[in-house]
């Protein structure tokens, strides 16, 4: 028996297996946002339809659900009814805000007319707000506490359970 081969081999095997086991069950697509725990980047954008300016800093005092989406995004269609239903239930205690980027105002209007809405939808024409929030894909949702701090970020279409779990972090 060759002891060197056995010992070196077992060490390498143990290291590889340990690392792979440690990685199991984690979602590799999930990236911790550096913004969590920081103040929400300020923005002021025009609401689709009404044309009024909405300033995120003026919304302090209650939790904000900030949802980035677009009409060209498949999963956003799936997520929209969940957002609207929860907004109807939770507002005005919680403020819902949608931000659309890389999109046309006409398409957004049509989308909202067909599928309904319950909160302001803002147009991020140059995509600057999406960049400030580090949005990697749509939909992505930020949960902001009453002091204006981002408490959680969710990637992908929200379910009611996920929304409530994440929102709880912003209620404290």
């Amino acid at each position: 028996m060759n002891r060197t081969v056995l010992i070196v081999g077992i060490v390498i095997v143990a290291a590889i297996v340990f690392i792979l086991f440690a990685g199991l069950g984690k979602d590799p697509a999930h990236i911790d946002s550096p913004l969590v725990g920081r103040p929400a980047p300020p923005f002021s954008l025009k609401a689709v339809g009404t044309g009024e300016m909405v300033d995120i800093e003026k919304l302090r005092g209650k939790p904000v659900v900030l949802n980035f989406w677009a009409t060209w995004c498949g999963p956003c269609y799936e997520e929209h009814p969940t957002l609207v239903a929860n907004a109807r239930n939770l507002q005005p205690g919680v403020q819902f805000v949608g931000v659309v980027f890389n999109d046309d105002e006409d398409k957004i209007m049509r989308f909202l007319a067909e599928r309904g809405t319950a909160y302001p939808t803002l147009l991020d024409a140059q995509g600057k707000t999406a960049i400030a929030y580090g949005v990697g894909g749509v939909p992505e949702t930020f949960f902001i506490n009453p002091e204006g701090k981002i408490m959680a970020k969710f990637e992908g279409p929200l379910t009611t359970e996920a929304l409530q779990a994440e929102l709880a972090k912003a209620m404290r």
Binding site: L6, I10, V13, G23, K26, P28, W72
Partner: protein, 664 residues
């Protein structure tokens, strides 16, 4: 009905593979010819069951039988027939079934080819293959069962992943990769057999080498097809991103390439037996690691299947095979060594050793880079990623050194040589190297690594061509007619050697094309209003407008650009932006205009109203990569064709050329 039949076939294959493996191992330890015949029958039966199960699944897919769970996940009456057929490997469960199907074919074919040969080793080899077969059929029967019944079958399904539907390369790339990956099971079985037997005789090298070379050819082509697809479809202007799963396909390729080289030294000198066996084992283990990477959801990649429960099962299998391999190796490695010894470092065999060292260094570099984010997260709980700079910094120098070896290695004679002989072998190719380098410098190459690549590439091309045609030239010099000399020296007797040097020639071009295309590329990001033009890299690009196109599974915006040179129209290019219903981000498909010197590549960054923001890339020589990798594959196949033993030996060939081998 169909789900029940499928489940029955799979359960039967678990039973057959397990029983067959036991019989085979018992036959091996008892050296029983009767036992060997029975294990051969079980090997054929296993293959037949896998074939039948896959046939049943294809039947269910084609007839849109949505009572089969897998069909209800990936089938759709809306997609063309070819998409329906290839849906077999478009999702997790089906891809494992496809794996079993290919494994069955490999096992049956190898068993049949060696049915009367290598009786000493075959029972252990069959036992090992069937053990692997038992594991995969267990996966299909349990954690990844595609034959579950759907209680209330839907009328239609969603169809397979849209990315698989958008390019024909996607039909060829996955099967090629599976043929490469799964095929590594066969040399692994042979290596285990040699270890269990405690010896590795000269005659057993032939099946070991051939069984390694065939999957190597498939893997080589598969890796290239993947890169080509990314380049043609994903729109970021590259072909290799050091994505974990790309790395996973490269890792077994690296160890298999090293093993093919060390096998030659083993054949010539009777040394490196334990080492070659280790490399063969590593190649198989790395394919299992790669399977784990794509199917466990641990790594983030375009290749990842959705999160699944089979990760832990594969990991347990991987751990078990790793431990088994290491223990077996440590018990038997000493009994394999060594019939001969190495005489000199500056020799052909010395260069083979350096080659192996470099390949192993590359393997570790890529493995560590791929797993490093997992290590950091496991140890420090922090997220990080390892990107291009690490891989480029580590891989470029070693790769360049390998190119140097492709030149120097085959130029050196075997065994001990005098200083004068060595210099006479090494100096002349320098002229070709210098000429190629001078051409590059004249054309504006300034990057140090690319200049070195040109120098070594020219050198290696000279040596490769000289060695490739050496037997032919020797025959002609002796007065043989050109035609017969060509056929006999290159294709009949010297086929392995000839094929090997064709692989080298292809590899040399790949090295040069990668270096040139990545360091000499120029790009420009520009926003054009409709009717506006820009001139870049010799071509004038005019934006002529865009068009929306709706297809069932995607929404596309196609932009049109006119390409002209010196006022003359060249072509129309139509890059597009695709939004797939099931995906979070839109995916651009670039337009590529290829010429012999390079590619002109237009990719849409964004489209708004009359304006189009585009990325234009001019990439010299990139198309050479695809062609020369195919050449490497052809070289491998030429070297693989078994020589008809002694049937055509008309006259003896000078020893130098006859037995002279290159890696193949």
């Amino acid at each position: 009905m169909i789900p029940t039949l499928g489940r029955f076939l799979i359960l039967a294959s678990v039973l057959v593979a397990t029983t067959g493996a036991f019989i085979a191992y018992a036959a091996g330890s008892k050296r029983s010819p009767e036992g060997l015949r029975w294990s051969q029958r079980f090997a054929y039966l296993f293959a037949a069951l896998m074939l039948a199960a896959t046939g049943v699944m294809e039947y269910a897919l084609i007839t849109h039988d949505f009572s089969v769970e897998y069909v209800s996940h990936v089938g759709s009456t809306q997609v063309p027939l070819w998409v329906t057929i290839v849906s077999l490997w478009s999702s997790l469960e089906g891809s494992i079934l496809f794996w079993g199907f290919i494994l069955g074919i490999y096992i049956a074919a190898t068993t049949w080819i060696n049915r009367n040969d290598h009786q000493e080793y075959m029972p252990y080899a069959i036992g090992t293959w069937l053990s692997v077969g038992a594991f995969f059929s267990f996966l299909i029967a349990g954690p990844a069962n595609p034959f579950l019944t759907v209680a209330n079958p839907p009328l239609d399904g969603p169809g397979p992943n849209p990315l698989l539907q958008n390019h024909l390369l996607m039909i060829i790339h996955p099967p090629m990769l599976y043929l490469g990956y799964v095929g590594m099971t066969i040399p692994f079985g042979f290596a285990i057999a040699a270890l269990l037997r405690g010896r590795l005789g000269q005659s057993f090298l032939r099946p070991l080498r051939a069984s390694l070379l065939l999957p190597w050819v498939f893997l080589t082509i598969a890796i290239m097809l993947g890169g080509w697809w990314a380049y043609e479809v994903l729109g970021w202007g590259g072909y290799w991103a050091w994505d974990p799963v790309e790395n996973a396909s490269l890792l077994p390729w690296l160890t298999a390439t090293a093993a093919l080289h060390s096998a030659i030294v083993m054949e010539r000198r009777g040394v490196l037996k334990g080492w070659t066996v280790t490399l063969v084992q590593a190649s198989f283990l790395l394919t299992i690691l790669g399977t784990f990477m794509t199917r466990s959801g641990v790594f983030n990649s375009v290749h990842s299947f959705t999160q699944s429960s089979i990760g832990p099962t594969i990991l347990i299998f991987l751990a078990a095979v790793l431990v088994f391999s290491v223990v077996l190796l440590s018990f038997r490695i000493d009994s394999l060594e060594a019939d001969g010894k190495l005489d000199s470092a500056v020799s052909r065999e010395g260069m083979f050793l350096v080659n192996n060292l470099f390949f192993v260094v590359l393997t570790f570099t890529v493995l560590v880079g791929t797993c490093f984010p997992l290590i950091v997260e496991a140890v420090k709980g922090k997220q990080m990623s390892v990107g291009r700079p690490y891989f480029d910094a580590m891989v470029v120098p070693v790769g360049t050194a390998l190119l140097f070896l492709i030149g120097v290695g085959p130029a050196l004679p075997w065994g001990k040589a005098s200083k004068k002989e060595i210099l006479r072998a090494l100096l002349p190719p320098l002229i070709t190297g210098a000429i190629v380098m001078a051409i590059g410098l004249a054309l504006g190459v300034r990057n140090v690594w690319t200049v070195l690549t040109l120098l070594f590439g020219g050198y290696a091309a000279h040596v490769t061509m000289a060695q490739m045609w050496l037997p032919f030239r020797q025959r002609v010099k002796r007065g043989d007619a050109i035609g017969p000399a060509l056929v006999d020296a290159q294709l009949r007797r010297g086929r392995r050697r000839f094929g090997g040097y064709i692989v080298h020639a292809g590899a040399v071009i790949v090295f040069v094309a990668i270096a040139v295309s990545s360091t000499m590329r120029t790009q420009q990001e520009v926003t054009l209003t409709r009717g506006q033009s820009t001139t870049f890299a010799g071509y004038t690009v005019t934006y002529t407008g865009s068009e929306e196109r709706a297809e069932p599974h995607r929404q596309s915006t196609i932009a049109r650009f006119n390409l002209s040179k010196n006022g003359a129209q060249v072509t129309t290019m139509e890059p597009r932006m695709n939004q797939y219903a099931a995906m979070r981000e839109p995916i651009g498909t670039p337009a590529v205009y290829s010429t012999i010197t390079g590619d002109y590549y237009i990719s849409i960054m964004n489209l708004q109203g009359d304006q189009a923001g585009v990325l234009i890339i001019n990439m010299p020589m990139v198309g050479w990569i695809w062609g020369s990798v195919i050449m490497m594959g052809i070289g491998g196949l030429i070297a693989l064709i078994p020589s008809r033993r002694r049937a055509y030996v008309v006259s003896p060939v000078p020893a130098e050329a006859a037995g002279d081998e290159v890696p193949a």
